[in-house]
């Protein structure tokens, strides 16, 4: 996993609440057995006017000029600003894969759906929860200023706007540690092999029916 320490990037506003993972990456693209290549179909039904199918040549597709990601001023954005409950619905990790593959490193919202929030950290994306008033303020600023970029500092846990104004955010120490160092969860867990084995032994003795192979 890609480590995350500091990031400065262009911010794009997606002004709607409850953006679900079906919208982030529609189901037909979930048929892939690979982990990469989902970026071309991120927000597919909003981004394009024709129906997207796996394996299609993207350059020939009809772009929806009204969708915010397609507006030239937001080309190359790596910070997604959005509203409440982002990432709700299906648990598909294809959603963070698509966001990451498109180039997003950070998503800022007043709240996230649990499973999605968790999936982000496994893929080097930092989901940042800020107060809805601050998010509102950021929405206004993005709209008013072309080229609006934010600086994210994971160590200091701050978001800094172009005027130098700073907003702090919170996150779990464990998640922060893993993201900062790009650590693999499985390796970390396997450091506890003995604890797992001894738990398993006790568990098996107490509830043998759970181990009826």
């Amino acid at each position: 996993m890609q480590a995350f320490t500091q990031h400065n990037g262009l911010c794009v506003p997606l002004d709607r609440p409850n953006v679900d993972t079906d919208a982030i990456i529609p189901k037909q693209f979930l048929k892939s057995i690979k982990r990469s290549g989902f970026g071309a179909n991120l927000f597919d039904e909003w981004r394009y006017l024709d129906r997207g199918e796996p394996g299609q040549e993207v350059s020939t597709r009809k772009i929806n000029p009204d969708f915010v990601l397609n507006q030239p001023r937001y080309a190359g954005a790596s910070i997604l600003l959005t509203r409440d409950n982002f990432g709700c619905g299906s648990s598909r990790e294809h959603a963070p894969w698509a966001l990451e593959d498109y180039g997003f490193r950070t998503i800022i919202a007043p709240s996230f759906a649990d499973i999605f929030y968790n999936n982000c950290f496994k893929n080097g994306i930092l989901p940042i929860v800020l107060d809805s008033d601050i998010v509102d303020q950021l929405f206004k600023q993005v709209a008013a200023n072309e080229g609006y970029a934010l600086t994210i500092d994971l160590v200091a846990q701050t978001v800094t706007d172009p005027a130098g104004q700073q907003f702090s955010f919170t996150l779990d120490a464990f998640r922060k540690h893993c993201l900062l160092h790009g650590l693999d969860d499985i390796d970390l867990t396997l450091q506890h092999v003995d604890a797992i084995k001894s738990f398993e032994q006790k568990h098996r003795a107490a509830s043998p029916w759970l181990f009826a192979d």
């Binding site: 648990s91 969860d185 506890h192 797992i196």
Partner: protein, 475 residues
């Protein structure tokens, strides 16, 4: 000892290790695996040269991509090559890693969340995960069950554990006698309408109260299934006699001496009398009506006697624009009576409502009636091969066929339209599934979530109707 909630008990019984910041290693008793969210997990194992920690703790089956029409040609008969590859990949991975699998040809195959309880592979007191958000279903049997992402599927395969932070406790007490014509689906839709789609975020929800106890185990699964639609990963219900009766004799259930021990252990699977919840909600079911969603989020729901709400009356601007966008997508005007909404298709199925009781309830409405001419397709998709067999033994397939419904093979089908079953742009569907998101049942498709009997009634009428106005022939 401090009083514990059911969730506290399940958590504590599976805690392997706790870090200083509260993130913990939780032991997982069962993982369910399907073809969509597992290929990258198996690939990860392969790349790292790892083996499953305990292969038999897993149970796999294809469900999302499988065709619901002719299955005679097996996997080779899946016409979409990308879908076929995904199912083939699951089969291969299960062979390579010795994971038990119900393949497409197995009569036990079906939607993971229908099959696992049916087989007794979901047991009270278990921790259970699956790369699928509707894993919350299994909480109906007093298990701690929730969806995970693909990295976590791999993590559980490799370590039999999950890194988790404990959620907060919420209790939703559903009290009162359930009115006739009102089902578990209506209850859970009403709960989501009240709580909102993010109301449960960060919580594990326990459902309790007289109405929950009145529900069958299958009804309880419907309620827990949609917990995720209220933002909570896990929903659960305490063990009672119905739970024990349901589990008894199922293929994976404890046998012999173990059965007695298990039942004794399960008796403790309820919240202690004085357990403290971080949040508690009470819902009275006595005035709930059959529910119909009108928008593109499950919280956008109205009683059958109601109307599509008017965004102009919504004070919150973010909500107002969300409502406007939803109405635009769904093609409805504010203040339209729900019963004036005509439909093009009907889908009875999904892990929410494709169990035998759901099919019986829908058949009771369909019996002796005909699907309206204006409805181009009404389909019934049983949740598993065994549900299908049972329904056929009861003659339900005939009732549906005579009424003009299509009787299909088990799978997820038009719940998410990954196979050939889908809505065309602009088509409107009465669906017993769980998500009415934009494009969920096909790009541009419009979904209204309802109970099985409401879906059957809508099929007959060609528009939404109050199923309580139907005289039901007793079966």
């Amino acid at each position: 000892m401090a009083a514990k909630t059911l969730y506290d008990k399940l958590w504590d019984a599976h805690l392997v290790h706790q870090n200083e910041d509260g993130s913990s290693l939780i032991y997982i008793d069962r993982q369910l695996v399907h073809e969509v969210t597992s290929p990258q997990a198996f690939e990860g194992l392969r790349l790292a040269g790892r083996k499953p920690w305990r292969a038999t703790a897993n149970l796999a089956m294809p469900d999302h991509n499988v065709p619901t029409t002719d299955r005679a040609a097996g996997v080779a008969g899946i016409t979409d090559p990308v879908s076929r590859l995904q199912v083939e990949t699951l089969d291969k991975n299960c062979v390579d890693f010795a994971i038990p699998e119900f393949t497409m040809a197995d009569i036990r195959q079906g939607i993971v969340h229908v099959v696992s309880p049916e087989q007794g592979a979901t047991l009270p007191g278990m921790t259970l995960v699956c790369g699928d958000s509707h894993t919350s279903t299994h909480g109906a049997l007093a298990a701690l069950a929730h969806g995970v992402g693909t990295s976590e599927v791999e993590h559980v395969l490799a370590t039999q554990c999950l890194i988790q932070k404990k959620s907060k406790n919420m209790r939703i007490r559903v009290e009162g006698k359930i009115p006739i014509g009102v089902t578990a689906k209506d209850i859970v839709l009403a709960i989501i309408g009240k709580l909102g789609t993010a109301g449960g975020t960060g919580y594990a929800i326990e459902f309790s109260g007289s109405a929950i106890r009145e529900l069958s185990i299958e009804g309880r699964m419907t309620v827990c299934n949609m917990t995720i639609e209220a933002g909570a990963r896990a929903g659960m219900i305490a063990v009672d006699d119905k739970t024990i009766d349901y589990v008894k004799g199922r293929p994976f259930a404890p046998k012999g001496e173990d059965w007695g021990k298990a039942v004794a252990a399960w008796a403790d699977l309820h919240s202690d009398e004085d357990a403290v919840f971080d949040c508690e909600i009470v819902l009275d079911v006595t005035d709930i009506e059959p529910q119909v969603t009108w928008g593109t989020s499950p919280e956008m729901v109205a009683p059958i006697s109601g109307c599509v709400p008017d965004p102009q009356r919504e004070p919150d601007s973010v909500k107002r624009s969300g409502m406007q966008r939803a109405l635009e997508y769904i093609g409805l005007k504010a203040n339209t009576a729900i019963t004036d909404i005509s439909i093009d298709k009907v889908f009875i199925g999904s892990c929410t409502n494709s169990r035998i009781e759901d099919l019986r309830a829908a058949a009771a409405v369909a019996k002796g009636r005909k699907v309206a001419d204006s409805v181009s397709l009404a389909m019934v998709v049983p949740g598993s091969g065994l549900v299908k067999k049972q329904a056929e033994a009861e003659g339900l397939d005939k009732i549906f066929a005579e009424a003009g419904f299509e009787w299909r093979q088990p799978g997820c089908s038009m719940c998410l339209a990954m196979n050939a079953d889908r809505l065309e742009p602009g088509e409107r569907c009465a669906s017993t599934s769980n998500r009415n998101f934009e494009g969920r049942q096909g790009q541009g498709g419009r979904t209204h979530l309802v109970s099985p009997q409401m879906a059957a009634a809508a099929a007959v009428a060609g528009h939404f109707v109050d199923v309580r106005d139907f005289t039901l022939e007793s079966r």
